[in-house]
C-alpha cells in the first residue's frame, strides 16, 4: 500500500475495510453456527478449517496489506508459514503412534 516517506501516498477507500470487516463477521457467524447446529464429523472439521482459512486470508491480505506488498516480503512470510503444515502432519503421525502404544500397553497392563 503506502510507500514509506512519500509525501503523496495512495490509500484505499474506507469501503474496502468495511467490506472485509463485514465478511469477517459473516465467516465468524458461520463458524459459530457450525458449533451451534452441532455439525459432526468431517463436515464439521472441513467447515471450521474453511472459515478459519478464509478469515486468516482476508486479514493478512487486506488488513495487513500483504496483497499490495512486493513478492520479496510475501514469499519470505508465506513459505515458512506453509511449512508449518509439514510439522502438523509429522506431529499427527507421532500422536497416533503414541495413542496406539498407550492403548496397547494400558490393555496389556505393563
Amino acid at each position: 500500500m503506502a510507500q514509506y516517506n512519500n509525501n503523496k501516498v495512495k490509500t484505499h477507500k474506507i469501503g474496502i475495510y468495511l467490506w472485509i470487516w463485514g465478511l469477517l463477521f459473516v465467516f465468524s457467524f458461520f463458524s459459530y453456527m457450525v458449533d451451534y447446529l452441532n455439525f459432526e464429523g468431517s463436515l464439521r472439521w472441513t467447515l471450521i478449517v474453511l472459515f478459519m482459512l478464509s478469515k486468516a486470508a482476508l486479514i493478512v491480505a487486506v488488513f495487513m496489506h500483504l496483497f499490495w506488498e512486493r513478492y520479496a516480503i510475501v514469499n519470505i512470510l508465506l513459505w515458512p508459514m506453509t511449512l508449518m503444515l509439514l510439522f502438523v502432519w509429522i506431529m499427527v503421525a507421532e500422536s497416533e503412534y503414541t495413542l496406539l502404544t498407550r492403548i496397547f500397553y494400558f490393555i496389556l497392563g505393563s
Binding site: 514509506y4 458449533d35 516480503i73
Partner: protein, 234 residues
C-alpha cells in the same frame, strides 16, 4: 595502492558497519515495518508450537477430551448457550481489527484526530476482550475447578493447554492495548506531523509507526482466529 576494502572500518565497528551496510532486500519498506514482519513470523512459530503441542496432547490421550461447547457455555436467563462469551469475544476482536485498519488509513492521510480516535476505539475493544477473558478465567478457575493439572470434565491436559494458549494470547492483547494507548497519545499530540522525537528511541517517527502497530494488532486477531477454530470449535 589502495583497495576499497582498506577504506572500510576494522574490528568491531567493521563488523557492525558490514552488517548494516546498504544491502536492502525489502525495497521501499521502512526497516521498522520489515522487522515487525520478521517478529510476526517468529511469533507465528511460537503460537504454532503451542497449537501443535495441543493437537498432539489431545490426539494422543486415551481419556475423552472435555466438550468445549459445554465447558465454555454461558447461562442466559436459565438456558445454556454454547460458546456465547467466546463468540462475543471473537466479534469484539474482529471489530478492533476493523477500527485498526481504518486508523492506519487515516494515519497515511495524515488525519491526526480521526487516526487517534480509531486507535482509541481499537484499544477499547482490546481492553474489553482482556476483561472478558479475565471473567472467563475466573469462572473456570473458581467456579468450575479447572486448573493446569486437572478438571472435572475429562482429560487433565485440557487445563494446561487452555491456560497456556489463551494466557499467551491474552498477554499479547494486553501489550497491544498498552502500545495502542501510547500511539494514540502520540498521534493526538501530533508527534508524527511535527517530527517530535520519541521518549524511548529518541528518533523521529512517521505515520508508518501506525501501520507497524496495525500489523501487530492484526496478527493478534489472526492468532485468535486459529485459537477459536482449533481450541473452541474443534
Amino acid at each position: 595502492m589502495s583497495r576499497a576494502i582498506d577504506k572500510l572500518p576494522k574490528g568491531w565497528s567493521g563488523l557492525t558497519s558490514d552488517f548494516s551496510s546498504d544491502q536492502k532486500a525489502f525495497k521501499g519498506m521502512s526497516w521498522g515495518k520489515a522487522m515487525m514482519w520478521i517478529f510476526i513470523l517468529s511469533d507465528t512459530f511460537i503460537f504454532s508450537c503451542f497449537l501443535i503441542s495441543y493437537l498432539t496432547g489431545r490426539a494422543s490421550t486415551t481419556v475423552p477430551w472435555p466438550d468445549s461447547s459445554i465447558v465454555f457455555g454461558l447461562d442466559v436467563f436459565g438456558t445454556s448457550v454454547p460458546l456465547l462469551l467466546i463468540a462475543i469475544m471473537t466479534f469484539i476482536l474482529i471489530s478492533s481489527s476493523g477500527t485498526m485498519a481504518i486508523a492506519v488509513k487515516y494515519g497515511y492521510e495524515k488525519n491526526r484526530k480521526l487516526c487517534a480516535i480509531f486507535l482509541l476505539l481499537t484499544a477499547l475493544c482490546g481492553a474489553a476482550f482482556v476483561g472478558m477473558q479475565a471473567f472467563e478465567w475466573t469462572k473456570l478457575i473458581f467456579h468450575e475447578g479447572v486448573s493446569p493439572w486437572g478438571n472435572p470434565f475429562g482429560a487433565v491436559q485440557f487445563g494446561s493447554f487452555f491456560f497456556m494458549i489463551t494466557g499467551f494470547h491474552g498477554t499479547h492483547v494486553t501489550v497491544g492495548v498498552i502500545f495502542l494507548l501510547i500511539m494514540a497519545r502520540k498521534t493526538w499530540r501530533g508527534d508524527f506531523n511535527t517530527g517530535r522525537r520519541g521518549y524511548f528511541t529518541t528518533m523521529k517517527s512517521d505515520y508508518v509507526a501506525i501501520e507497524i502497530m496495525g500489523l501487530y494488532w492484526h496478527f493478534v486477531d489472526l492468532v485468535w482466529v486459529f485459537i477459536f477454530a482449533f481450541f473452541y470449535l474443534w
